[in-house]
Symmetry: C2
DNA sequence: TACATTGCTTGTATCCAGCAAGCATAGCGG
DNA sequence: CCGCTATGCTTGCTGGATACAAGCAATGTA
């Protein structure tokens, strides 16, 4: 490590990035940060270990925010296998956070709804998370805050596009949900 | 919470963020993006499923970049339990990617080194990852690229600080590694 | 009615992770 | 030198999240 460029090393300590002039350098630098980030998030999740497992929070969130949905749609949205979603949903139902109700148009499956308890639980999760983040962001300039969110949003969109493009094991069970379309 | 703000919903589809004026709004927006991001990364990891499991890549990276280390230091660095690291290291050794050599100063443990094969493997991982990222970033302006990396780096630093501040289950086995000090 | 499709569940396996217990070495006070 | 404690690592066990495959139930279609 000598000049202003990044190069190989992931997850190393400080990762001093300056401008990353070339595309390759930018990719390497972003890779480094992504690796660090995911490891940090994993540690964080574990530290704040909610009463419930970590995974179903995602599904709960999607139900609270996206409205009633079928398990299949949840799975496609979240890039999870339907079987995984099925188990998580069962757990959520057992804990009273989600309710099934028959789909009037298709008796094979059910529509899933977040119960009042589920919504409350989700709000708890969200509040706690946002409080932590606010504690971090409070020392940031509004400009940096806005930029980070904007850029991560764009990165997410690009990643999702690639994910959908190459179906892969989890993210697609035949329907190949295009772009942001949500079906139904 | 009413105006042009983000609000509750995680992981929902498009997550249109504009400026996120207040701190709370910024935190919520960042939370949204972080959740989406982690899920996308998980899906990605699975899609490109390397020959080896996903976890040891992190350790390999740290060995290649950080030089020879003891398992204990690896664990502290990566916020992992020592037992987890121990197993992963064993796997790496069995596959010839990492070598143990006796620590001249302490015969209880060993120093771990990435072998030539390990370094090559790591380079493969990194190349593949960076190629994917480059494919995404190529349509970005140099300014946005640099900003994203800078801001993520800062976010990581802040997250790591908090992680160290509150030890939590994983990142600490009795020694309470303080701040950024690395021991050794 | 027969067959293909779709929605979901369940059996099984894998990977990752932590906790607790144990072993070997180290280091220290007598 | 002898214990006692601390440290480094390993191993047994457990739990969670996930995927894949197989199967059942309801739909739709010819």
């Amino acid at each position: 490590m000598s000049n202003g460029a990044v190069h190989a090393c992931d997850g190393a300590g400080v990762s001093e990035i300056t401008v990353a002039s070339s595309l390759d350098e930018a990719a390497a630098g972003l890779g480094t940060e992504m690796v660090r980030f995911t490891r940090l998030i994993a540690a964080w999740k574990q530290r704040v270990k909610h009463d419930a497992g970590a995974a179903d929070r995602v599904l709960l969130a999607r139900l609270v925010c996206g409205g009633d949905q079928r398990a299949t749609d949840l799975a496609a949205d979240a890039f999870l296998d339907l079987s995984t979603v099925s188990r998580q949903v069962r757990s959520l139902v057992e804990r009273g956070l989600v309710a099934r109700r028959p789909d009037p148009e298709d008796r094979r499956g059910s529509l899933l709804t977040a119960t009042e308890a589920g919504r409350a639980r989700f709000e708890d999760y969200r509040r706690q998370r946002d409080a932590e983040l606010a504690g971090i962001l409070e020392s940031w300039s509004p400009q940096d805050r806005a930029d980070l969110i904007r850029l991560m949003s764009r990165l997410n969109a690009d990643l999702a596009e690639r994910q959908h493009a190459r179906p892969g094991p989890g993210g697609d069970q035949g329907t190949t949900v295009e772009q942001g379309e949500i079906r139904r």
